[in-house]
């Protein structure tokens, strides 16, 4: 046993898969200890906030200001405020005014602003330019002037009795706050989803639930497959015929379609994560049963099994003591494959809107489904679906790598 384990952990494939899987598993276990927010708690008003650090504006106004004299602060501020569309419009105006196109560089904020200040005349109108358009340029110019001003902003609060605004402080352009002194800072490494929930917290919980679903479904499928395979393979005769018949029946009705039909008949209300796991388990045992059966048939007439039979051991004893140990490695590999395919099955079901009901726990498939319904992929909100895909792929990838590693240990012919 010790030797086998040593061999397994010398296989690079297995080790890489194992490490990836353990990292995922540990994240699922440890993350909730530190961040105890409800995974489905709606925190954001609005959909799809970008990943980033969110600093409370109100609190930062109250925090102690520090003055930092940074040279490029003004340029950065203007660059950030000046949208691509504004730059385009400024270029259009300058071109119409007769500035040669090769002098205008809309990516260089300083030169663009310089040209604008030199040439712009609010009263000038070009042929074909509507009055609304002229007004638009006047507004743009005014806002640019606002951007270029160096005076601070006055903070005022309303006097409760007179309703008059009373100045309570000013914010200079050189004022900074230390983020550590601001009371409320929320880090959203993966932004928020369509319902305004923290994607990372949700994702960690969803990974946990999907792994549970995979485990439950995989264990059920492997147990059914193992039992039927052992019975069919060892007992043979009518039992074998019957089992093969059931197995064939389940082979010809594609599992996924069976899964769709059953989950739809159960109805949205009754479908919890566990129910889905059980349904997946009960529909996906077929190939395990077949494979175990054929392995058992090849073992059935081995000498040690015959010896055991001659010694008068019971069928149960022979199966447990003389056959199971020989297919144990195979069963473990089958279990790993079953778990990973169950996770995929849940995800595919949920994408079709036939997954677990949506009110209790997130699963990887449900997160995918929500992102698809709210068209995250069309809107370019990558953080709502891409991390989910990566996690799904990493789970199945790590499990298959482990499997390949085990395969290489137990089937030495494959070791290239």
């Amino acid at each position: 046993m010790k030797h086998t384990l040593q061999q397994i952990f010398h296989s690079p494939n297995f080790v890489i898969g194992f490490v990836i899987f353990m990292v995922l598993l540990l994240t699922v276990i440890i993350y909730p200890l530190f961040i105890t927010d409800a995974p489905l708690g709606i925190i954001a008003q609005g959909t799809f906030f970008e990943p980033g650090i969110y600093v409370n504006v109100y609190d930062s106004l109250g925090a102690t200001p520090y003055t930092l004299q940074l040279n490029d602060a003004a340029t950065k501020r203007i660059e950030n405020k000046l949208k691509a569309q504004d730059r385009q419009d400024m270029q259009d105006w300058l071109k119409a005014d007769g500035v040669p196109a090769n002098q205008i560089d809309i990516t260089n904020t300083a030169s663009l602003l310089g040209l604008w200040q030199k040439n712009y005349d609010p009263n000038k109108s070009f042929p074909g330019m509507t009055y609304a358009r002229q007004r638009y340029y006047q507004r743009l110019d005014a806002s640019l002037k606002g951007l270029l001003s160096t005076s601070g902003v006055i903070i005022a609060s309303q006097d409760p009795e007179t309703s008059a605004l009373v100045q309570s402080g000013t914010v200079q352009q050189t004022d900074y706050v230390n983020i550590g002194e601001v009371a409320n800072v929320k880090v959203l490494p993966l932004g928020t989803d369509n319902f305004g929930r923290d994607v990372l917290t949700e994702l960690v919980r969803a990974t946990g639930v999907s792994l549970e679903i995979g485990l439950v479904a995989g264990v059920i499928a492997t147990l059914i497959g193992l039992t039927l395979g052992l019975l069919g393979g060892y007992v043979g005769g009518l039992v074998d015929d019957l089992i093969m018949f059931i197995t064939n029946l389940f082979t010809v009705i594609p599992t996924f379609i069976l899964l769709i039909l059953i989950s739809f008949s159960i109805g949205q209300e009754q479908r919890g994560a566990v129910t889905i796991a059980v349904v997946i388990g009960f529909t996906s045992w077929v190939w395990t049963a077949r494979a175990v059966r054929s392995q058992v048939i090849s073992l059935r007439n081995r000498d040690h099994v015959n010896l055991s039979k001659l010694s008068g051991h019971s069928v149960a004893h022979i199966i447990v003591a003389d056959i199971l140990p020989y297919i144990a490695s195979y069963v473990v590999m089958a279990l790993i494959l079953q778990i990973s395919s169950a996770i995929l099955a849940e995800a595919s079901l949920s994408i079709l809107g036939l997954g677990p009901r949506t009110t209790e726990v997130p699963t990887l498939g449900l997160m995918m489904n929500w992102a698809m319904i709210y068209q995250a992929e069309i809107l370019g909100k990558w953080w709502a679906y891409f991390p989910v895909l990566i996690v799904i792929a990493l789970i199945t990838f790590s499990m298959n790598l482990m499997n390949t590693g085990l395969d290489q240990v137990f089937n030495p012919a494959l070791r290239a």
Binding site: F245, I260, F264, A347, I351, I378, F397
Partner: protein, 334 residues
Amino acid sequence: MKGYLRYFLNKLVWFLVTFVFAFILNFILPRLMPGDPVAGIVGKMAQGMSNATGVQAIYKQYTELFGTNKPMIEQFFIYVKNVFRGDFGFSFSQYPRTVGNVIKSSVWWTVCLQFPAIIVGWIIGNALGALAAYLKGGFDRVLMPVSIFISNLPTFGMAVILLVFFAVDLKWFPSSGGYGFDLLPSFSWKFMWSVIVHYQLPFWSIVLIAIGGQAIGMRSMSIYELNADYVKYSRFMGIKDRTIVGYVFRNAMLPQITGLALSIGTMVGGALVAEIIFSYPGLGTTLLNAIMGGDYPLISAITLIITVMVLIANFLIEIVYGFIDPRIKAAQSD
């Protein structure tokens, strides 16, 4: 030959029995779904009608037309009789179209999408797998993890990634449908071009995943064969490497061909999700709509088609294997 005939008949009987049970399951399972589909149609028909007796009459007429007022057993025998005449009845969700009509308009989309995709994926995957086994070294070390990773992406994952990259960001291909929404099916160049453009993303999302899976399988088989005694013996005999590779390839091919036959058999049910994500007008999308609309004549018919195809593929494989595989031949003489 007598042994083979017995083997053949034995298999045939089992397949027929399996077919009957699968047929019954196909009939019953969709009908266990909750909700009354006829009520949905009547609701649509009777929109704006305030006369309760009128609505009642319409409801009665439709239940009689669809036969849903009869007991399940009687419905089953009527269904069997009709199916043998090739009549699958009316589709509930797309009434007054018949099920045959709905399927006829969608099945070719699926077949034309899946069949070439499976073949192309199979050929490329096997070639890469065999190369990896033969060349080993760097090629193998790069190809294997990549193949495993790609084949482990769920179909919808590959579909979404291709969709975002090529349809949303680069805008090379349209994101959904089988042809432009402003066109009617016809044999014009414009329509053909639209079909070809819409074809690319679903096609490649299926092909890429198939390549990964096939490459892994072919690599294992080839390595297994390359270490076999006959290869060493041939080397001792001084047979040219090229010829040996030919032998190995042919032997490693056999299980792969089984895989190909199976995936052609299961193709209709194989990539439902890819079709659904691209709203491709094939059987997958039709099936999903049928399930959502509680349209069990349509569901039964589609699952029946899938079942029959899988059944035939399995049967053919077993029959052909009975001819080829000496071990099965030996078993027949027992």
